[in-house]
């Protein structure tokens, strides 16, 4: 799998990261080598082996649909960079 700047930029955009030119260069080289290493997974005969999504045998752990104490509002807002009227305030969503 060839990794070039275009691939890295595409992936960075998906991950909401902007890379400096030097970073991009480094990542192209490093990710290239790592993906080359990871290619060896293609050698394995996986046939119809099922994927492992969980290593333990539990599914659908429920609890009763009852109200329970949860984080108080002030606690939830305590680490917020900006609060307005008990809401998390952010820059405008739509650009000009």
């Amino acid at each position: 799998m060839g990794v070039d700047s275009e691939v890295v930029d595409h992936v960075a955009a998906l991950a909401k990261l902007r890379l400096e030119p030097r970073e991009r260069e480094d990542f192209v080289e490093q990710l290239g080598r790592i993906l080359e290493y990871v290619e060896k997974l293609q050698e394995v005969d996986v046939g119809d082996v099922p994927p492992t999504k969980h290593v333990i045998d539990i599914t659908n752990v429920d609890r009763r649909d009852e109200e329970r104490p949860s984080l108080a509002r002030e606690v939830s807002l305590a680490n917020a960079p900006e609060v307005q009227q008990d809401h998390f305030a952010v820059p405008k969503v739509l650009p000009d």
Binding site: K16, V44, V49, I56, I58
Partner: protein, 487 residues
Amino acid sequence: MSIDLHSLTCAQVAGAVASGELSATEVTEEALRASYSHDMRVGACLQLLPGSARARAAEIDADRELRRLPLAGVPVAIKDNICVEGTRTTAGSRMLAQFVAPYTATAVQRLEAQGAICISKTNLDEFSMGSSTENSALGQTVNPHDGNRVPGGSSGGSAAAVASYQVLGALGSDTGGSIRQPAAFCGVVGLKPTYGRVSRYGLIAFASSLDHVGPLARSVEDVALLLAASAGVDPRDSTTVDLDVPDYRGALEADPDSFTLGVPSSWLAEGLESAVREQFEATVAEMEGAGATIMEVDLPHQDYAIATYYVIATAEASSNLARYDGVRYGARAENAADLEEMFVRTRSNGFGAEVKRRILLGTFVLSEGYYDAYYGRAQRVRTLLRRDFEAAFAKVDVVVGPTTPTTAFTLGEKADDPLAMYLSDVYTVTANLAGLPAISVPCGADERGLPVGLQVIGRPFDEMRVLQVARQVERVRGGWPISAATG
């Protein structure tokens, strides 16, 4: 009784507090003093918690019932990706450098409920991504045995705090070896429990199907005590399993005649440092001499473990770290023109290089067109790796091998070569992929005096057997402090 944290065990401290020979306050003051002074050299701590520690110690001292708790007065350190309410919990990252945890992790709550006292938050590779603690954005930690070497990672601070006598025990986290490898490098005991044995509630997530919380200490007995205190089903972590927690410490001494140890031949191949091989083989020979049966086992897919791990772990990390967007907590880039710019600048400034590298890799393997070839395939190879162990456990009780291919490397040695750093996890990642309990216990030292760790991996929820075998290794090779080969 004098307080010498060099020679006391967790059990001894709790016993002394119960009998009145020591007060929790005296022990706490000594741990704070030791942490402050040793840490000038070692750098294990990101912060000390003197206020809350002293308050808790006073509480314990004032109450007869509390003084009789199983871990009364025991000083512990907590890796800084584990939330302790009211403390800065940073994950070693600029992204969370000012984040104050609004709740306490279940594992910590349980230790505290049994009387343990949190003395410090320890350094780690940023978001637990690394094998040397060099990726921390907030400080440097060195190996207490050699200040030019790494303590291992990502729980390097926890291992170093225990190894430099600051505390008697610590909690760390292990996603690909992050408890066991620093334990091996620092000469202490570190256990990764079975997935689902210890709650992850309050652990800052890296890779949700691979993350585990676990204890470190200078003896197998102390690790057994800490595990018993922290384990058990938790309604706040739906991946915990509702199974009784055995008296791990009570049943620790077992007859080696009853042990069957499996050694994977592929683990003793090239890349293994000769000193590590020698200490490991000498230990196995002594275990055999003590009555254990040794058999060779085959792990046919071992060569694919690292590749499988780095696809799955990075994929899960890219998802888990998407929450760091500057909206509700953590760092936020200032003066952003709009939301999108805020996201991008917050994340680009807040994450270090290794974290970005893994997010990019994980995003790639999950992206359209590549998902099946990479992530889907890795999940299938993960199944094959689990089956390798199931087959081995049909013949043996535990699988043993070196914890790491080398002893502690020097600071900076692997910093420029991420792939080389990843390959040093070769023996540890499989236990995370298969969800199996695994411990690292010191088994000797190399010619420079650097500790060598031996790993014991057991069947799911068979921590008892893993601890028993580790206890026997400790008996035959000598416990803390481990020294060069005796035979």
